[in-house]
Assembly symmetry: none
Homo-oligomer: 198 residues x 4
DNA sequence: CATGAATGAGGATTCATTCAT
DNA sequence: AATGAATGAATCCTCATTCAT
């Protein structure tokens, strides 16, 4: 008797993630997934309750990875709020590069029942919000709504990677986003707007 | 007054836009659209070649509206680059508020065959890129990659509106995004970052 | 534009009834039904909400027919309770012969959600129970539980038709069941048959 | 004590019988049976060649039991034909009460390939037919077609138990069926119960 | 023997599209 | 032009059966 094969589960997950990354939810058939993972269609149901559950698992695992990765990097970092934000952005970009699926999967569609996606997305947004919030409380960042800022920051990276020119090296994306971000949120930075409402 | 045909076409578009805004492409059936617009299913094919064409038309018309609206506002504006950027952001937020469908429809998925969406999206990104670029060339904005910046800015607004807390007044969103944006991109603004830019 | 075609609906119903009569619920595929009725599979869904609804409709219509038929015969009948019972049995047998499907469909399986079948079956059982009950109240029949008797009588006819030797003429079945019903099987017990056994 | 194998086989049969009694053939999965019997799905195939074979075994064993039980009771009984019929009816009712599955399993559907069921059912019908036939030959019962009568009698009991009011005590069912059987339903017809409970 | 992971044929159902009216 | 009945391809999912362990 065989035991549930973690390797096989992983293979299914990987194949499915790649497919979902390039086609919308309903554009991916379980036949595609099964064929891609070289398993029978029925086998998918041994590891996932339904197509939706499979999709949810992909999102969940991906988000868990980003969040875990970023949090691990944060542990070793100095306490500087800006430095921590840099780590966050770098983590997001690195992840977007390694798993191009990610940011596409994050589309705001209501593809699958809300809870699944909200939960997955929330995990990441919470992390960013926390980092921003701590920076604010520490007096290093100027920002009144950490929640709004979190959405902006993640979206910003997402926008740069999805809509920016293809093939841009990650370093450049990181640099650009940080550039925009830095002088925006660091206290004491903003000069008076040049000619604001004369 | 318009010809009855145009009215019906408009009704179909409006209903379909509302539906596509709340459900993913494949979650909307032409039956839903027909019922919502109080026309027969066959009638849809009098006005649109296919479901995909209908979806494309929605995107196109919506983007045409934002772009037209923003460009109209820009015409009367003073030449200041920042002021022009303010107009752009305000236009985006106002539009996102008036047509919540919009930003959802912009999901990065490859819901429908690429060209349609790229074309539609491009129109908006081009506008923003142009405004940023002009500002840079005029020496008022600091920004090396106007294309990247355009993606960031639009995404930023989108992120704030889609993922931020619900029911936030538009003014606050505008203020927040502009706040982040201003001191970031306006020349001469950035104070020395805590430990950066030695 | 075509209107819902009553003839087509009838054809589907007839074909499906024949199939369900010879194979159990799950042994009949909608593909079979569609092919048999020479319509597309999708067409079935124009006329019936689901397979289960189709099955329910068959039962309902069949029961409506028996019950209507029997009730019509009862109207013209003299008031004699036994005569009325004869009419009932004759109606049941005639129906079983004309629609062999009927008694098979009545299998007590829980094939489809109870309500549908119970409702359909109830209509017939109620009729029989009513006739028996009236006879008892009129003092012509002896029977304490009209409800039990109704189940017995219908089952009896069913048993005779389904399990008895094939090809037996209806007249003989009617005669036999009525014989048992009227005066039982014990010799010397029965009252003189009202107008039978000359 | 039996060998462990026999115990397991018995457990499977018992569980399966209960399931088949409440759901139609295709509504019972081997997964259900395996889970209910606390064995692996593969184990079922050690004891039964297929699902159909399992179903057939249930029917066979059940029928063997009724028939054996009734025949055992008949052995000790006096030779009176009516008394023997009473024993048959009592046996049927008792069995229907103890194994509610039975009468449900006897659905006339062609659930599984005919031979299996016909064989099983035949065993019971033959017994009843034999008893009736002997009574007729002995001049105690009046009945021209013992085969038809057998179907009627078994069906009658089945109908009373399946369609009659729930929870009716067995004694009442027996009494009712015997009442109808003995002297029919027409008032004044029936002789006093021959020798009922002297 | 026992097991349960693996399989793929098969089935109900949906829906974009066509077409007769 | 307008309609909605008709269609069948396509999809998710179930489940009896097999087989490696």
């Amino acid at each position: 008797m065989q035991k549930p094969d973690a390797v096989k589960r992983e293979r299914i997950l990987r194949v499915a993630a790649r497919l979902f990354a390039h086609r919308p939810y309903h554009g991916v058939t379980l036949g595609d997934v099964a064929a891609g993972a070289r398993v029978g269609k029925g086998t998918l149901y041994v590891y996932f309750r339904s197509k939706e559950a499979l999709f949810g698992a992909i999102l969940d695992e991906a988000f868990v990875r980003v969040v875990d990765d970023i949090e691990a990097s944060l542990i070793g970092a100095s306490g500087g709020a800006w430095e921590r934000l840099e780590i966050v952005v770098r983590g997001l970009v690195k992840f977007g590069g390694a798993y191009p699926a990610m940011f596409r999967l994050m589309r705001a569609g209501v593809d699958v029942s809300g809870p699944i996606k909200r939960r997955a997305r929330t995990r990441l947004l919470d992390l960013v919000e926390r980092v921003v919030g701590e920076g604010v409380r520490a007096g290093e960042l100027r920002e009144q709504r950490a929640d709004l800022a979190a959405g902006c920051i993640v979206s910003c990276v997402r926008g740069a990677m999805l809509f920016g020119p293809e093939g841009l090296p990650e370093r450049e994306i990181v640099g650009h986003v940080l550039g925009m971000l830095r002088s925006g949120v660091v206290r004491g930075s903003g000069a008076a707007p040049p000619r604001r409402k004369p």
